[in-house]
Symmetry: none
Subunit: 415 residues, 2 copies
């Protein structure tokens, strides 16, 4: 029988740490507001470092302020196994998105230490910087810097609403680190495993504790600017109008129709802004977002082509500018990591199922450079990015148990 550190996971310790971390940026409504690279997040980071040092872990950082807490393996010259997620949140975020993955990582390492055996490879708990992208857009900046997906200069140049650059914010966070050595980018981990709440309703509805994440769906994000002409609502005949809002409504209505097939296409217009936004003035400009996701790239590409056609077909007398601001194809996670997650759940008698991630995660970036997988646990009502976000303590602990056994197995991998 293989070594199973999962038996040393302490449910209460893990839950208590989750609730303590949620105090950093706690909202009155029970949610969490912990912007990336903020003083609030910096304080939470210091707490993580303190917990790690208490276990004998060695903290490291890098030029994007990613945080690594290293359990030295018996063969420290080998690339380590990374486990974790992120600790930044949306402005109206919850206690679990990101934080659960990092603290499940810490709990898994503590369980491994408590089990009395030392892993072959080092295991590092990681908290990636700025996954959410709500203060500095876009998100996943830390994992993009680490994997080289984007140049550091570009990631540092991103500015928040107050005009502060990500680079300046990184420098502030790093300046508060005490005895946290910085490492260079440019090395590939042995593997990466990211535990996360599902952020969807499937596991809860089917009463399944562990989601073996098969991949992440493809995404395209757009911004559309429709430009017309402001005019008096009471005196300008329809044929003389260049009504930006009616053009935007026609465009969105048409796009919504083509995105109805297949029925699991995710199409969302979440942002919609009107100028001058006065009841008796025909709008001169509308600016809106489109968020398109599906597991099948061919579906995403087909709807992308339709979107490009429809903004022109439905713009009427207005001008329209469509800008694609993000494009991430769908991806499939490592067979090896998926098998390990499924087997660990079986060994622990936890019901599991294959599941696609509908949301993006840092695991997307890591999967380009090393075997990568994710472990989902259910969250209540599928609600996320919301103060009402909730995961059951038993599910949180189950996720950490699976992670502990998977991390142990991955640390035993050969070169």
């Amino acid at each position: 029988m293989p070594h199973r550190p999962s038996g040393f996971v302490d449910d209460k310790r893990l839950w208590d740490r989750l609730m303590m971390l949620a105090q950093f940026g706690a909202r009155e409504d029970g949610g969490v507001d912990r912007p990336a690279l903020s003083p609030t997040e910096s304080d939470a980071r210091a707490q993580l470092v303190a917990w790690g040092r208490a276990l004998g872990l060695h903290p490291f950082s890098d030029a994007m302020a990613n945080l690594f807490l290293r359990l030295e393996g018996r063969r420290p010259e080998l690339p380590p196994v990374l486990i974790g997620s992120h600790i930044d949140s949306q402005p109206t975020g919850g206690k679990f998105d990101g934080a659960f993955g990092v603290l499940a990582g810490l709990e898994a390492v503590e369980a491994i230490i408590a089990s009395g055996q030392r892993p072959d490879r080092s295991i590092e708990v990681v908290a990636w910087t700025n996954e959410e992208g709500s203060r500095f857009a876009p998100g996943m900046a830390g994992s993009e810097a680490f994997t080289g997906a984007k140049p550091l200069e570009i990631l540092h140049a991103a500015k928040d609403a107050a005009g502060c650059s990500a680079g300046a914010a990184v420098a502030e966070v790093l300046a508060k680190d005490v005895d946290v050595p910085q490492r260079a980018f440019g090395w590939a981990p042995a593997a990466f495993v990211e535990p996360h709440i599902e952020q969807g309703p499937i596991l809860e509805k089917r009463n399944i504790t562990i989601g073996v994440v098969t991949g992440i769906q493809g995404t395209r994000r757009y911004r559309v600017r429709v430009s017309g002409e402001a005019a008096h609502a009471g005196t300008t005949l329809r044929r003389d109008r260049r009504d930006a809002l009616m053009a935007a409504v026609r465009i969105i209505h048409a796009i919504d129709r083509v995105a109805r097939e297949p029925d699991d296409v995710m199409l969302t217009v979440g942002l919609f802004e009107v100028k001058p936004n006065a009841p008796s003035v025909i709008p001169e400009e509308v600016y809106f977002s489109i968020d398109l996701r599906h597991t099948d790239d061919a579906v995403v590409d087909r709807i992308d082509a339709e979107i490009r056609r429809l903004v022109e077909a439905e713009k009427g007398p207005c001008a329209v500018e469509l800008r694609q601001i993000a494009h991430a194809p769908s991806l499939t996670f490592s067979d090896e990591v998926r098998s390990l997650v499924a087997r660990a759940a079986d060994d622990l008698s936890l019901p599991s199922m294959d599941i696609y991630s509908a949301a993006g995660h840092d695991a997307r970036q890591l999967h380009y450079v090393c075997p990568t997988g994710m472990i989902f646990v259910p969250c209540r009502g599928g609600i996320s990015h919301n103060p009402a976000e909730w995961a059951e303590p038993a599910h949180v602990a189950a996720g950490a148990r699976v992670l502990a056994d998977v991390a142990w197995a991955l640390a035993a991998r050969g070169d």
Copy 2:
């Protein structure tokens, strides 16, 4: 030959005052942003009072901060003739909407004084408070208070986007008045004449200088609140969504279609606000305006019925609340005032024509309590509620000339 003060209208003086008033709330793009009851409007009001005092006019105000500049007639015991308009603007307004009417009134009075004869009745230049309704909705609050169309408490209770009540804003404006006595409501003027730019393209296209306004088209205004549920844009299937924005888009799209016949129906959605308005969050609430106008009440009523049907038919899984905030049937102005305007234009050899007002004006409220009419002058391209709003100096002066002669004639009316 009757006395004709129009000969004493000074084109340059009138134009200079128009350009000076446009400095209060001047936008960089040449437009005007002068919200009702704002410090900016209060400063413009003080300028009006100063101009009036220099002519020997007596300023008065009331509990809605309407401003009257009174030229005392030979029979001050008789109800006065009111001439004027308003000085508040839309956020992206122009130099002429409202301001032209007030300054044409001031010029007409100055011309009457310069003509050396004193009118029988007093003549008062009036600036009605909050015609536009863009800071405090709905508009025409000053003329509604004056005519008793709405109780003062209700008008004072209206709040702006920052939560400030109209009553508080009125108090601030009145507090800045120096030696401006307040008068009670509840009296009927002898007549009211409102000069205004057409805000439509008809006069310009036909090369006509003076529009003899026959009436105002019927109007209904609504606010619609669509309530759904916020959820993650990447993980929530369409069938599980309660997407307030997509419901609003369906509703507006359907209403836009039914309002295409006849082709002179005015239907506008000028205000559209989304919560939480984030690209990756399915909107939980949309709040939008509908502005419906037509000269034929039967058409307005038919589309009203369709709007009420369609908000229910297209709401999908969302809840919808439709509130009609204004309903004004179409109206016909006083035969006497229309005849006087047409005759004054003829006497001045100015081409004139009958024309319907597509926009609402304070003259709507006044026509319920006294003989009322309007004088339109052309504006370039029919553009209004826009910084590009423009009227030719010659047309502005022509409007003031017609007003001077009409006001003189009305001031000679018997009891």
